[in-house]
């Protein structure tokens, strides 16, 4: 039952703060055609398409239908999945199940966003309960700020500790030609940047980006023919436990991410993720999240993430590099962000990440975050899974 699945092609746009030269569908077509080109496939080789975004971000209802001209799905099965910030990873997981089911052999998964076309915070606020939460909720920045405030209190971490994450990711982005923000920053610059919502400052948080990403999933038989080095999907998992923002447990490791990681490790037989994983593409919407959520990946004891980051273990060349692509803090086309994590993880284990390649990467983890603690995790490897 079920068939093995591999990633055989990826495509990204050059992510920018604004892409007025293309409409949304044309932006999607750029990523889609690049993924096809990467895999050496044509549109007619694709059996089905999965796409996602958040309706109120661009004000478009039924995006799967609207994007047909660019998503490659004309006269094919097209499905929309959406889970907020996690949408990109949710699209990838849906792409995986399309192929794993045996019903399709070659499936295109697409995430996209044109943040420049709207007021992102206004749109994000609408994810909160209209009555009990929207009046106070200040969007992703403020939501992540309340979490960051609590992390500082709980673990005694400082704004300076968190800044290390932003500095690392922005440094990595310089080597990624598709990244949005590609300029080195310093800890002092992060600390001195304008405060948006205490304790989050401008350089602690992800940017608003226009961009799209497409990833092609294929069955074992197809993958062997399409790609020299397919990136095999070993495990996928997702969790979402809460209705209200304030239902998220404050104690312990970020619960949904931890649960999803533990399920993936268990099913993959991973006992020591710090040493068994070669690279992580982590959905880190803020520097504080990029610090504390490492705990939930099970690669260190609770509260020890600061040490991993400050010791350089998560740098390129470190013991477990995190976000060689530059991560979310460098590029955040929201609906695509999770899928970029998956694409980058696949590029790493296929040895096709170019200048930001982690040498010898064989096993990569990609994570997604959205809404009130929605978590997706994918484990991707160069070796064919059992």
């Amino acid at each position: 039952m079920g068939q093995r699945v591999a990633i055989v092609g990826t495509g990204q746009t050059h992510h920018r703060s604004s892409r007025k030269d293309v409409n949304g569908v044309e932006l999607i077509q750029e990523a889609t055609s690049r993924a096809l080109e990467d895999a050496g496939l044509r549109r007619e080789d694709i059996d089905a398409v999965v796409i996602g975004n958040m309706d109120h971000f661009e004000g478009i209802n039924y995006v799967d239908m609207w994007s047909i001209d660019g998503n490659g799905g004309l006269h094919k099965p097209v499905m929309k999945v959406t889970t907020g910030g996690t949408t990109g990873t949710t699209v990838a997981i849906a792409g995986y199940y399309h192929v794993a089911s045996g019903l399709f052999d070659t499936v295109l998964a697409i995430g996209w966003e044109k943040n420049s076309e709207s007021d992102t915070t206004a749109a994000i606020i609408t994810c909160a309960d209209p009555y009990w939460e929207r009046p106070t909720f200040g969007g992703a920045v403020a939501g992540l700020a309340t979490a960051a405030c609590e992390y500082m209190h709980r673990y005694g971490i400082t704004e300076r500790d968190a800044a290390l994450v932003a500095v690392r990711d922005r440094k990595n982005a310089i080597k990624n030609p598709y990244a949005h923000l590609r300029k080195q920053i310093t800890v002092e610059e992060v600390l001195g940047s304008p405060i948006l919502a205490y304790p989050i400052k401008l350089l602690d948080i992800c940017p608003r980006t226009d961009g799209a990403c497409a990833v092609i999933f294929a069955s074992e038989d197809k993958a062997k023919k399409i790609a020299d080095k397919p990136a095999w999907v070993h495990q996928v998992s997702s969790r979402h436990n809460y209705t209200f923002l304030t239902d998220i447990e404050r104690s312990g490791r970020m619960p949904t991410l931890y649960e999803a990681c533990m399920e993936v490790y268990k099913n993959a037989g991973i006992r020591d993720p710090l040493h068994e994983l070669d690279v992580i593409e982590m959905y880190t919407p803020s520097s504080f999240a990029g610090l504390v959520w490492i705990d939930a990946l099970g690669v260190c004891d609770e509260g020890e993430a600061v040490k991993l980051v400050s010791d350089g273990a998560t740098e390129m060349g470190g013991e477990l590099p995190i976000n060689p692509s530059g991560g979310v803090i460098s590029t955040n086309c929201i609906g695509a962000t999770g899928l970029i994590r998956v694409a980058e993880a696949a590029m790493q284990v296929s040895g096709r990440a170019g200048e930001h390649q982690i040498e010898g990467a064989k096993l990569a983890l990609a994570t997604g975050f959205g809404g009130c603690s929605w978590s997706d995790v994918l484990l991707i490897g160069s070796a064919k899974p059992n």
Partner: protein, 151 residues
């Protein structure tokens, strides 16, 4: 009021500014400046698209060829809208339809006007009536009107 019947009258008001893109901008520029309707043609399947596509949805190749279509066209289908809605830009009853301009393989949805709405028939020959003041959007065409109105 019984507590389980409480309804909160809220709203979602978010502004959007959709990029028309390079191709759409040229299309609207021609409407605005020259009262002309331009389309693009796929080099592989030869299909002529309006609104203009930058790539062919079917062949998935880049499209570079532009051509003028219309101004005359055929009314493929239409409806007389008799209800009121916030989305309407003119008061009911009014007519809208799909017009296939001469030289194009696809149709364009627009208002049908300048005629007694009860006289509108599918298959009619129609042409665009442009607004005097044009802004670079689809409503630079006021409506499509029959070429010859039968008395």
């Amino acid at each position: 009021m019984v507590s389980d019947e409480i309804v909160y009258h809220g709203k979602i008001k978010v502004p959007y500014e959709w990029s028309v893109g390079e191709y759409g901008s040229r299309f609207f520029y021609e409407l605005k400046e020259n009262r002309k309707i331009w389309a693009t043609r796929c080099s592989r399947c030869k299909k002529v698209f309006i609104p203009p596509r930058k790539s062919c949805p079917n062949c998935f190749v880049h499209i570079g060829e532009w051509l003028e279509v219309g101004p005359g066209g055929n009314l493929i289908t239409f409806t007389i809208v008799r209800y009121s809605a916030q989305t309407h830009i003119t008061s009911a009853p009014f007519a809208m339809g799909i017009v296939q301009l001469d030289g194009s393989d696809t149709g364009l949805v627009h208002l049908i006007g300048g005629v007694d709405i009860e006289e509108i028939r599918s298959g009619m020959r129609v042409k665009p009536v442009f607004k005097e003041e044009r802004k670079g959007n689809l409503l630079d065409i006021l409506y499509f009107t029959p070429l010859e109105v039968t008395p």
